[in-house]
Structure formats: structure tokens, C-alpha cells
């Protein structure tokens, strides 16, 4: 009780000081939502930053409190995008060998230090929707093009979904991953018909899903049964649409000969001259001679569909068919709730209420200016919703399991991790975290949005996607990764090499004398002050029981506190 009391008193002091730097003056637009005038406390700020960035820092908490949510969001929207491709090209220009390693370096650099945190966080969420993976051999061999694909997500994080969908579709990286590249019109003689891969996944995974949804994301039922969004005829219709796309700038004699289609190179010069793979960075281009123009194409049919019964008449060009088909998807009523659900699950909670999904989906349908598909407005609706901003009760089972990558980025941001030369040689996080950017095993991402582990959660009807990669093996390997990054990889440890990424504990040592202040500091930084009093007391008494004679002792106190928090169930579940 005594410890608990001390903590409450401290929190009250912080609150008083904090209120001097109140943010309200900077609010310029609170018409959308009631919560935008905050944050009202450091805890609110930390919680928001946990959802909107790769992890709060004390500096950013203070900055957000000075600015207020609206100004902070406006500032983030105005930040120039940090790009992976340029980072890698700089490395290549400096004579380094550039593999997918280098792309992971860029990802970590931007996650830890990028000023455009919100943009990067949304791009990461989009990378778990519009999935490509360097586990695929074609992609693996093109690390800079993979980075350019990620940059495309970064650049469109606050853009329009329809435009993003088209850019993704015409990306040669996606073209190779889901085999729309060089997909060709049917040839009855050879029993060849268009590849269905992209046709299927763009609908199932990138836009609408398999079943019709109500505006709030619940299943639409007809005679007690869910209603499929499409059938095999629709798949074939879209498969025909997505034909006739090859590298940009193919040589074409008289509109293109078959050997030119077949052997078109990815660049104007031969490997390894610079530019040999230039077309990996350009949208794919259409060949009418390989496009299935003649056939009528069954596209999606839904209430209000603009094509009659969803049927696209034959005779279109590759580009006009593509445009019509993407419009047909974009206008489907599922897209709003589908995207809303994805973003809410990646940023806020695994089990949002239908009303929350409905509110975000409504903002997707209309950003307030009559525009559909505004991702910036949608992101704002996700973050500023009452259900995101109010701390949910424990018993309501709200929250989500933190993704392993976000646990590590959280530690590294909070503790200012860096190497001597500024590089983040975090090349194989997937080995111990089970996750790395654009490295999922399949197009189904690291986990499915509706995954529910057997046992209590599925009995309660709760989804918990991140548990799909939380196995008996990874639960230990993640704890061990955090162990080495806390107990070993700290600045000043003589066993570390200059190129190792190390956390900076120097500023922490001053708190080691006072376990209550130490744990309170970490309650804010790591748990947005959601730590239970029993957890608080366990940690304080553990740290109090540790030696405190010299710097090494004090560092160990800090390290124990950090690691025990980072591996605790209360921390693992972000509320």
C-alpha cells in the first residue's frame, strides 16, 4: 500500500506540472471529434503514440502535449516521406553490396528515427494488407525494387485508396508476387487461360473479402446465411481483365511481336550495367495483343453497382478494362468496413465494436468533402475515435497483442538505440521475432485478421491475430531477443562491436536509486500508465532487493525493470 501511495502522489505531481504545458491553444479543428483537444495527460499522449508511431519517447510525449493531437497530426501529414530506395541506392553508390539486408536496415532506421512516424506506421500496416514478400525468389533478387514497393505504400499512406490500389496492381513487384506480370489472354488451342492469382487475392485480401459486410463490418445475412461477395465466374472475369501487362519500355516492332513479349528485358541495357533492371521501378505497361479484350467480363455485382449486373462488356483496352475493374472493386460497399477493420486491428484493438468500424468506414466512404477512399481521413478516424482514445476496462478484453517487431521498435525508440555509424544492421529479425517487414511466408500475411487461438479466446468469440505467430517457440525467442537487446546491447558494454545497435541507459541510471520513480517512468514509457498496482509493486520490490553499490548495479536494476516489463503479459497486451 505504501508503495502504491507513493506512486499516486508522484503521478499527481506530474499531472500538475504537465498541465502547465497544456495543448488546447493549438487545436484548430475539433469539429470532427470530441477527443481531438487532448491529450490531457502524459499517459494519454503515450497511449496515442503507441498506436500512431513505432513507440513513444519522453521527448515525443512532451512534444505531443505541447502541440495537441490536431497539430501533431497535421505536422505528421506534412513531414516529407522517408524512403528506403534512396537509402539503399546511397549504400550501393558507396560500394556496399545491397541485398534484402539493406532494405531491413532502412526499415529499422525509419521505424526508430524517421520523423514521419505516422506515415511509416501506416505504411507498415498497409504492408500487412497489400502483401508482397522477399520469401519469393523473384522478389528476393530485387531488394531495391522491393524497397520501392514499400516506398509506394509510404507515399500513399495518407493518399487515396483507389490510386494506391492501381499503383499496387501495376507494380512489377506485385506483378511477380501474384503473377499478373505477363499474364495473357486465353488460347483455346493450347488450353491456356488467364492466371487467376491476382484476380482472387485482390478481392479476398486487398479490398472486400469473401463475404458481404454491413456498413459496420458485421456479416450481411440472407435467409440466415452469409452472402459470398463473388464466385468463380467473377474470378475468371477479373483474371481476363488482368491480362496483357509486361515490363515498361519493351522493344516493340509493329505493336509488338511474340518474341518481344516473351523475351522483353527488365531494362534497356544488359546486366550488370547500371539501369539493367530499370523497369522494376516503373509501372507495368499494356500490350493490347496479349490482353483479353474480346470477352465480356463478369465483375462484382452488388447493390448500386454501376456496370449493369457487374458485367463489363468486351472490347475494352487493357488500361480501360483495368480502370473499370478497379473502380468496380473500389465502389463495393465492403471496402470501407474491410479497410477500417484492418487499420483498427493494426493500430488499436483486435476486437473493435461494430459501431467503431462503422464510424471509420463512414469516413472512408466520405471524408467530409464528398471524397471516397481518403486514407488520411480514415487513419485520423481510427486514431481519434472515442473507442481508441478512451482507456478500455480490463474486463472488456479490449486491446491487442503487440506485434513482435513493434515490441523491439518500442524498446529501441524509448532507449534511443543506435550503432556508432547510425546503421541498423537488424537483418534477420524474422529468425527470433517471427516477423520482418515484407517477409511474411505467404500473401496471407503473418497472421489472419480473424485468427483466434483455441481455448478461452475462441470460446469467448474474440479474435487475436498476433497469437498466430505466438507459439511456444516464439514466445521464448522473443523474450530472449529482448534479453540480449537489454542486458547485452547497451552503450558502453565493452563486449559490443561498434556496428552493433545498442540502447543508451545513461540517462536511466539516475533513477535506479529510487525504484518507485524508475518503475513509474517505465509505466509511462512502456505501458501508458496502465500498469496494475500489483505489477507495480512486484517490480518495485524486485528492484529494491537488488544491489545498488555502483554503476553496474544500477544498470542491472534498470535492465531488470525493462526486461521484466517487456516480457510481462500486462505489457504484451497493449490496451
Amino acid at each position: 500500500m505504501k508503495i502504491r501511495f507513493a506512486r499516486v502522489a508522484l503521478a499527481a505531481t506530474l499531472l500538475v506540472f504537465g498541465s502547465a504545458a497544456w495543448a488546447g491553444d493549438h487545436v484548430f479543428d475539433s469539429s470532427f471529434d470530441d477527443h481531438a483537444e487532448g491529450p490531457w495527460s502524459d499517459a494519454d499522449a503515450a497511449r496515442f503514440l503507441t498506436q500512431a508511431t513505432f513507440g513513444p519517447t519522453l521527448d515525443e510525449i512532451a512534444r505531443l502535449r505541447r502541440m495537441g493531437y490536431n497539430a501533431w497530426l497535421a505536422d505528421q501529414a506534412a513531414q516529407p516521406a522517408s524512403h528506403e530506395r534512396s537509402y539503399m541506392e546511397d549504400q550501393a553508390a558507396a560500394g556496399l553490396d545491397v541485398y534484402q539486408n539493406s532494405r531491413q536496415e532502412a526499415w529499422w532506421l525509419h521505424a526508430i528515427n524517421g520523423p514521419d512516424q505516422l506515415r511509416q506506421r501506416i505504411a507498415f500496416a498497409l504492408s500487412e494488407l497489400f502483401v508482397v514478400s522477399d520469401q519469393n525468389g523473384d522478389i528476393e533478387g530485387q531488394p531495391i525494387a522491393t524497397a520501392a514497393y514499400y516506398d509506394l505504400l509510404v507515399d500513399n499512406a495518407f493518399g487515396n485508396y483507389r490510386s494506391l490500389l492501381e499503383q499496387v496492381t501495376l507494380s512489377p513487384v506485385m506483378g511477380h508476387y501474384l503473377s499478373m506480370f505477363k499474364n495473357r489472354k486465353p488460347d483455346a488451342l493450347e488450353n491456356i487461360r488467364p492466371d487467376e492469382n491476382y484476380a482472387r487475392e485482390i478481392m479476398q485480401l486487398f479490398s472486400i473479402g469473401l463475404l458481404r459486410l454491413n456498413a459496420d463490418g458485421t456479416l450481411l445475412m440472407s435467409a440466415g446465411q452469409p452472402v459470398p461477395t463473388y464466385n468463380q465466374d467473377t474470378i475468371r472475369g477479373f483474371a481476363h481483365v488482368f491480362t496483357g501487362w509486361n515490363w515498361a519500355n519493351c522493344p516493340r516492332t509493329d505493336g509488338g511481336q511474340w518474341w518481344e513479349w516473351e523475351w522483353c528485358p527488365p531494362g534497356p541495357v544488359d546486366w550488370p550495367d547500371p539501369g539493367w533492371n530499370a523497369s522494376w521501378f516503373l509501372p507495368m505497361q499494356a500490350w493490347e495483343s496479349y490482353h483479353a479484350s474480346a470477352e465480356d467480363k463478369q465483375l462484382l455485382d452488388y447493390p448500386g453497382v454501376s456496370l449493369p449486373s457487374g458485367l463489363l462488356a468486351g472490347g475494352g483496352s487493357a488500361a480501360s478494362d483495368l480502370s473499370a475493374a478497379l473502380d468496380n472493386i473500389f465502389q463495393h460497399p465492403n471496402v470501407g468496413p474491410f479497410i477500417a477493420r484492418h487499420l483498427i486491428k493494426r493500430l488499436v484493438t483486435s476486437n473493435p465494436s461494430p459501431a467503431y468500424i462503422g464510424r471509420v468506414a463512414a469516413r472512408f466512404a466520405n471524408n467530409g468533402l464528398g471524397v471516397r477512399g481518403d486514407l488520411g481521413a480514415t487513419v485520423r478516424a481510427v486514431l481519434m475515435d472515442a473507442e481508441a482514445r478512451q482507456l478500455p476496462s480490463l474486463a472488456g478484453n479490449a486491446g491487442k497483442l503487440r506485434e513482435p517487431l513493434l515490441r523491439q521498435s518500442h524498446l529501441w525508440r524509448a532507449m534511443h538505440a543506435a550503432s556508432n555509424d547510425g546503421r541498423y544492421r537488424e537483418w534477420y529479425a524474422d529468425y527470433y521475432l517471427g516477423q520482418a517487414a515484407l517477409r511474411s511466408p505467404t500473401v496471407f500475411n503473418f497472421f489472419l485478421p480473424d485468427y483466434s487461438p483455441p481455448g478461452e479466446l475462441s470460446n469467448l468469440g474474440l479474435s487475436a491475430p498476433e497469437f498466430q505467430i505466438t507459439t511456444d517457440t516464439t514466445v521464448a525467442s522473443v523474450a530472449n531477443a529482448l534479453d540480449s537487446k537489454t542486458f547485452w546491447a547497451w552503450r558502453g558494454n565493452p563486449w559490443m562491436d561498434p556496428e552493433d545497435v545498442v540502447i543508451d541507459l545513461d540517462a536511466e541510471l539516475a533513477f535506479a536509486n529510487d525504484p518507485v520513480r524508475l518503475i513509474d517512468r517505465y509505466d509511462l514509457l512502456f505501458m501508458s500508465r496502465t500498469m496494475s498496482s500489483s505489477m507495480f509493486n512486484i517490480l518495485v520490490s524486485h528492484v529494491q532487493g537488488m544491489d545498488n553499490a555502483d554503476t553496474d548495479d544500477r544498470r542491472q536494476r534498470v535492465q531488470d525493470a525493462i526486461w521484466l516489463i517487456q516480457t510481462s503479459p500486462e505489457y504484451a497486451i497493449e490496451r
Binding site: 503473377s179 505477363k182 499474364n183 493450347e190 488450353n191 491456356i192 487461360r193 488467364p194 492466371d195 487467376e196 492469382n197 482472387r200 469473401l210 459470398p228 468463380q232 474470378i235 475468371r236 480490463l394 474486463a395 478484453n397 486491446g399 491487442k400 497483442l401 511466408p441 505467404t442 496471407f444 487461438p453 483455441p454 481455448g455 478461452e456 479466446l457 475462441s458 469467448l460 474474440l462 497469437f467 498466430q468 505467430i469 505466438t470 507459439t471 511456444d472 517457440t473 514466445v475 521464448a476 523474450a479 530472449n480 534479453d483 496494475s532 505489477m535 512486484i538 517490480l539 524486485h542 532487493g545 531488470d560 526486461w563 521484466l564 516480457t567 503479459p569 500486462e570 504484451a572 497486451i573
Partner: protein
């Protein structure tokens, strides 16, 4: 709830709560379980190994007709992807398959060809298996007069359908999980799950009472920072882990951590004391996974396991393009790893007690999209083990001709055998009594042949 079910659930609930971690606890549980009756089937060990081929293996280029008429149908459908007849590895079955055609294996599979062709063969093939709700003809499919599983041709959904076999009923359990719910009381060790996966989370092994346990290719991983040398930190860690958590997600995380730590010690102690196997496994993803399974079977005595179900997986079968090259590599990996695993079961004298089988969400279209194939429906599968009546192709090999009687359209081949029949044949050997078969496979009665005959009598 039946009394047996009640006891089994109660056992699992307590076993996972770390109360019964000692040997005395296991013994007490074994005695309690013995009271629950008939699923304790004497002393014989039995294990199933599900080899999941992610992405949909193109089994129509794994098992290919060699007789002229059937080969010509195949070649006409497959065009540029047709394997040359001369390259096929001829199979020499002891009984001609239905239809009388002769078949060969993909040239990447010489070791499995040898296993198939040997006398006392441990390798059988089940032809054209797939998810069905009822037997169905092409006319019925086209007319929509007979229900079919929902979301056919989708990876995620058809995978679930395959592994649950209950597309028309709400049941989140896989058939491996349903078997485990039935049999796990046979194991004296009630702390370690009867279902172990080397390839992470899967639908197949999820039961009501039994949840799969996951190990890595090299064994179980422990939490380094809380080893006994740091008793204080360990105590704090355990206090945080085992607190009364107010949120169900927190409880789930705590329970995974608890299970992981409890089982890690047990498994690694057993593996450390193992007499090493002489059998060499290929150093491939599947080879390493099957090697770990062989090692776990090798220490089954120390682990006090009587009934086990294992799961491994190999990705990369979704050959929308570059199929010829990609699939050859995949099948070569499968060939070498399965052959090594079978050799290891012989070395351990458990070949008759271990049955390995393939699963995959669908076969692929017989039609071609240029250099690859798309999502199909029915597919051929392999069953391997000393208790397999090998050197035979079971079921009905489909007609592969374009727009032929088994072509649902665009070369999606309608299954002639349901996954329920395939699974039930394995389950019967595993020990499911005839009276319980309809509990495990409620739709089985819809199909004329509930037992395909590829397993020896139990």
C-alpha cells in the same frame, strides 16, 4: 456431457495449470485417466504425421498417367506443362487402379518410386481426394443441385475445409484435434500435448481439450534470463506471468508462456539423453522438421507418450508460374525427406506404428495459365508407413481431359473421394472404434466407401 469427456477436459484444464508438473502428478493423472476407459488401447505406440504442402500441390504433375489414351488426355490439357512420358518414373502397382491406366511419378521422386514399387511396400496413393459435402457429379455441380463446401478454390478457406472436414457445421476443431480429444488420456504424460507441430499454428491439430504444442526444428527454446542462477529475477518474472490477469488476452499470453516454459525443460531433457539416430536427414526445411519428429518419437518413452499426432509443413506449392522448375525442386525435397523419415522409423522399429500422410488445400487446374496453373479442387495424396497397404493407387483416378466428365470448368477437377473418407481410413487404423467414427467424421455416412482400404487392420 459424457463422463469421459468431462474427465478429459478436467485433466487438461489442470494439466496446463502447472499443478501437475511432477512425476507424481503425471502418475495421478494416468490413474485418473485409466478410469475413463476404453481409449487406452494396450501398450502399442501410434503416431500420425501430417505433411502439409502449402499453396496447393499440383498432384496432376506428381502422379501422371503413362498409358497412351490417358497420357494423351493429360498432355492435351497440360500443353507446355505436360511432363514427357519417357521421363516419368514408372509405378508398378500390385493391383491395377480403377480404370486400368498405368501411372508414373514425377521424375523428381525416385526414392518414393522405389518405396512404392518394393514388395511389402509402405507407400500408397489416394487418387483425387478433395473437400466435399456429398458425392457430386459434374451435372450436379453445374446445376448447383448438390451443395459443395463454401469458398472453393480459396487458399485459406479450402485449407480449413480440408483440415476440419466439416464445411457445413460450425466446428473450429481440426480432425487431428478431434482425434486428440479422444485419445490424449492414453498418455501417462498429461502435461505435454499429444499434438506437436514443428510448423507453428495450424487448423489440423486444434481440439477442444487438446491444443497443439509447438517446437522448433532444433527442439524447444527456453527463456534464458530466468534460469535458476537468477532466482530473484525468475521469481519476479513468474509472479508477473502468473498473476490473476483481468483481461482474456493477457491470460492467453500468460498461458502460452507458462506452457512453453514447462514443456521446454521436459523436452530438452529427454532429447539431451537421446541415443542418436543413425539415419541421415537432408538439410532442407522439411528434412529438418521430420528429423525433429523422428527424434521426438525416439524419446517417446522418456516423454511417456503413447499416442501422438505431428504436423510439419512445406511452403511454395502455389505454382501460378515457373511451375515446372519450382515444383520439381519442391517434390525432390518431399521425396528425400519422406524417404529419410521412413528409414528412421525402421531404425527405431516403429515403422508399423507411424503413418505419414500428405494434405494440401487443393490440386491445381489441369488447364494452364502460360507457365503455371491455378487453384483447383481434387488432388492425389501420399500415405506412407509400415501399416500402409502400399503399392496401390486407391480411389478413382480422374479423367483429365479438357471439359471431360470430371472437369468442373477450366480444369478444376471434381474430387471422386472426399477428405472425410481419406481421413476416416487413417483414423480407423489409429484406433477410432466404429461406433465413434460418426462423431469424429459426421459427414462420413454420406459416402459409399467409408474406408478406402489403404491401412492395415488396426
Amino acid at each position: 456431457m459424457k463422463r469421459r469427456d468431462f474427465i478429459q477436459r478436467a485433466l487438461c484444464a489442470t494439466a496446463s495449470s502447472a499443478l501437475f508438473t511432477g512425476f507424481a502428478g503425471k502418475l495421478a493423472l494416468a490413474h485418473a485417466a485409466a478410469g475413463s476407459g476404453r481409449q487406452l488401447l494396450g501398450n502399442s505406440y501410434r503416431a500420425l504425421v501430417c505433411v502439409y504442402l502449402y499453396g496447393g500441390n499440383d498432384a496432376f504433375n506428381m502422379l501422371v498417367p503413362r498409358s497412351t489414351a490417358e497420357y494423351n488426355q493429360y498432355a492435351a490439357a497440360r500443353g507446355a506443362l505436360a511432363l514427357p512420358a519417357a521421363n516419368l518414373l514408372a509405378l508398378n502397382p500390385s493391383v491395377a487402379p480403377i480404370g486400368g491406366a498405368s501411372f508414373g511419378l514425377n521424375p523428381a521422386m525416385p526414392l518414393l518410386r522405389d518405396l512404392f514399387n518394393q514388395t511389402q511396400s509402405p507407400l500408397a496413393i489416394a487418387a483425387n481426394v478433395g473437400p466435399l459435402l456429398y458425392p457430386i457429379t459434374k451435372a450436379e455441380y453445374e446445376a448447383g443441385s448438390v451443395p459443395v463446401p463454401k469458398q472453393l478454390f480459396s487458399h485459406s478457406d479450402q485449407s480449413v475445409t480440408w483440415l476440419q472436414t466439416r464445411a457445413d457445421a460450425p466446428d473450429r476443431r481440426g480432425w487431428g484435434g478431434r482425434l486428440a480429444d479422444m485419445f490424449h488420456a492414453s498418455n501417462a504424460n498429461q502435461q505435454l500435448s499429444m499434438n506437436i507441430s514443428i510448423d507453428g499454428e495450424n487448423v489440423f491439430q486444434a481440439g477442444d481439450a487438446v491444443f497443439p504444442y509447438f517446437v522448433g526444428e532444433n527442439g524447444a527454446e527456453g527463456v534464458d534470463a530466468v534460469q535458476p542462477w537468477n532466482a530473484d529475477r525468475r521469481a519476479a518474472f513468474l509472479a508477473l506471468r502468473d498473476a490473476a490477469h483481468g483481461n482474456a488476452l493477457q491470460r492467453q499470453y500468460a498461458s502460452v508462456m507458462r506452457r512453453s516454459m514447462n514443456n521446454e525443460t521436459m523436452i530438452n531433457d529427454a532429447l539431451d539423453a537421446e541415443t542418436a539416430l543413425a539415419t541421415q536427414f537432408p538439410d532442407t526445411r522439411l528434412g529438418r522438421q521430420l528429423r525433429m519428429i523422428a527424434r521426438l518419437i525416439n524419446v517417446r518413452g522418456a516423454l511417456q507418450m503413447q499416442r501422438q499426432i505431428f504436423y510439419v509443413g512445406l511452403g511454395g506449392f502455389d505454382t501460378h508460374d515457373n511451375q515446372l522448375g519450382t515444383q520439381a525442386e519442391q517434390l525432390a525435397e518431399l521425396d528425400a525427406a519422406l524417404a529419410a523419415f521412413h528409414a528412421a522409423t525402421i531404425e527405431m522399429s516403429v515403422a508399423n506404428a507411424v503413418t505419414t500422410f500428405t494434405a494440401s488445400e487443393f490440386g491445381r487446374t489441369t488447364s494452364v495459365n502460360g507457365d503455371g496453373t491455378d487453384h483447383g479442387w481434387g488432388s492425389h495424396h501420399l500415405i506412407m508407413g509400415g501399416a500402409v497397404n502400399g503399392r496401390r493407387i486407391y480411389g478413382i483416378p480422374p479423367n483429365l481431359s479438357v471439359e471431360g466428365p470430371d472437369d468442373a470448368g477450366w480444369g478444376q477437377i471434381i474430387p471422386t473421394t472426399a477428405v472425410d473418407q481419406y481421413a476416416a481410413t487413417i483414423a480407423r487404423w489409429y484406433g477410432v472404434p466404429p461406433g465413434d467414427m460418426s462423431t469424429v467424421f459426421p459427414n462420413l455416412g454420406r459416402f459409399a466407401t467409408p474406408d478406402l482400404g489403404f491401412m492395415a487392420s488396426s
